[in-house]
């Protein structure tokens, strides 16, 4: 019998096996496809020479630096907008005007201003990371149980204490959820910038493999990016469960 947990793997494994058989049976010659065994070999090779690790480091450093700077800005503004309704109304048009700009559209400007490399990529990732944190932390503050605000009023907590002891802890599970969403976006944007123009990281490595007519290596990088993204989300999900327990899962369902 197949164990319950393993059932989820039956279909992917079957598909991989079918692809492998098909590729061998047809003596596949392609610039865009490769048999799974060749992809696995290319992935192993990229690990052995360390190129994939350097590329992963470059992408993750850019993604996290951008996520943290952009996320911090978004969080600060989101909390402020959630607390001060006047500020919220004041900023509404500005926020809604800037937010729809696709972050990747900033690429030409960022390239002129900052050139190739980490800085340009970090700025674009940061821009993309601001919005989920801003919008969701503003909503999280707005969704705080009004009774808790009344408790803080009855106790005459100072405004700073009210933020520190009531608002932030109450909104934290939802803020962490926003952080998780932003982390996914940060990785996507970082790889996109690299594919488009920046000669570092996993995105650039895919482009190099493509231009070298190495579909096996190109697909190996693609698989690896999927694994990195999955690992990132799983890690953050575990952290979320560990930190916030049931409250965070309730937020997830919402």
């Amino acid at each position: 019998m197949i164990p319950e947990r393993a059932k989820a793997f039956v279909l992917p494994v079957a598909i991989l096996a079918a692809l492998e058989i098909w590729a061998r049976a047809t003596h596949l010659q392609s610039d865009s496809l490769a048999p799974p065994s060749a992809i696995a070999a290319a992935l192993t090779e990229a690990f052995r020479d360390g190129s994939i690790l350097t590329a992963t480091r470059d992408t993750l450093v850019s993604a996290f630096a951008g996520l943290l700077t952009g996320g911090a800005v978004g969080l600060a503004f989101g909390i402020a907008l959630g607390i001060f309704h006047v500020f919220d109304r004041l900023m509404e048009v500005t926020v809604e005007a800037i937010r729809p700009i696709p972050s990747i559209a900033l690429l030409p400007i960022a390239l002129i201003a900052l050139g190739f490399g980490y800085r340009m990529e970090i700025v674009i990732v940061a821009f993309a990371s601001v919005w989920p944190l801003l919008i969701l932390s503003r909503a999280a503050v707005g969704a705080i149980e009004p009774r808790l605000i009344e408790v803080s009023r009855s106790l005459r907590l100072s405004p700073l204490d009210r933020i520190r002891k009531i608002i932030i802890p109450a909104a934290l599970p939802r803020i962490f959820l926003a952080f998780r969403l932003a982390a996914g976006i940060a990785l996507i944007v970082a790889v996109t910038v690299e594919i488009a123009i920046n000669p570092i990281g996993l995105g650039a490595a895919i482009m190099t493999a493509q231009q070298a007519l190495r579909p096996d290596l190109m697909l190996a990088y693609l698989v690896w990016i999927g694994i990195v993204g999955y690992g990132l989300n799983t890690g953050l999900l575990l952290a979320q469960r560990h930190l916030f327990g049931r409250a965070a899962l309730a937020g997830d369902a919402a």
Binding site: E145, R147, L148, E150, V151, R153, S154, L155, R156, L157, D161, K165, I166, P169, A170, L172, R246, A247
Partner: protein
Amino acid sequence: MTAIASQQTKLPDPARLQIAFSDVTLDLGGKTILENVNLDVKPGEFLCIVGASGCGKTTALRLAAGLYQPTRGSVTFDGKPILSPRRDIAIVFQDYGKALLPWRTAAGNVSLALEASGVASAQRGARIDALLKKVGLPNHAAKYPAEMSGGMQQRLQIARCLAQEPKALLMDEPFGALDAMTRQGLQDEVLSLVRASNATVVFVTHDLEEAIYLGDRVIGLLPHPGRIGIELTIDLPRRRDQLSTRENPQFLALRRELFDFIKASEA
């Protein structure tokens, strides 16, 4: 109690009053919730407010807490207008589950009130232990509200309110969501806690027997708009007992009077 003795004088000296509503009208969202309410509560008195749902009893309590401001008239505490919430007026909310901080333990929730009053952290521990003991939760300091029963959570909220060392304790249907046995136990505990602290209590409830059992005085509100319809002085022996007090003929007569009032007000 002296509060009851001075009850007879029609116009009490305002300085002797702890909480006083004079000609209070409150409009909310274009509706008049309370109209021309005159109400005074003497220091140490246990006043219960009853009434059909929507008669404004909770609103009256929120006015006394400083969470609302009257549209007309004034609400004063020790002779001074209540313009915002004050730490010496504590409010116990009905929905204990929402009023407690779910991310803090029982001790942490009590601590919040001490932190707000600026009690040094070195002194908080002992104060928290004493307060939790007082409300019968001495062994639950490290538990989170979600790990406690409804009755325990409400005790915890009461402990947090007592941490404010309030001169007045406002209670908004505090036992409304609890089962009958838990409720009776908590009624007696509140009576003894209040006796020990000498606090003035305004207690809102929809349970008429509870009002008579606990109160020195019961006020019944009429709805639409909320206004005072009946005022009963409860002359039962101050030491209340769940069985004998509730069987006292006077208790039964008061109960009848209050039931008739509520029935008429709903008609």
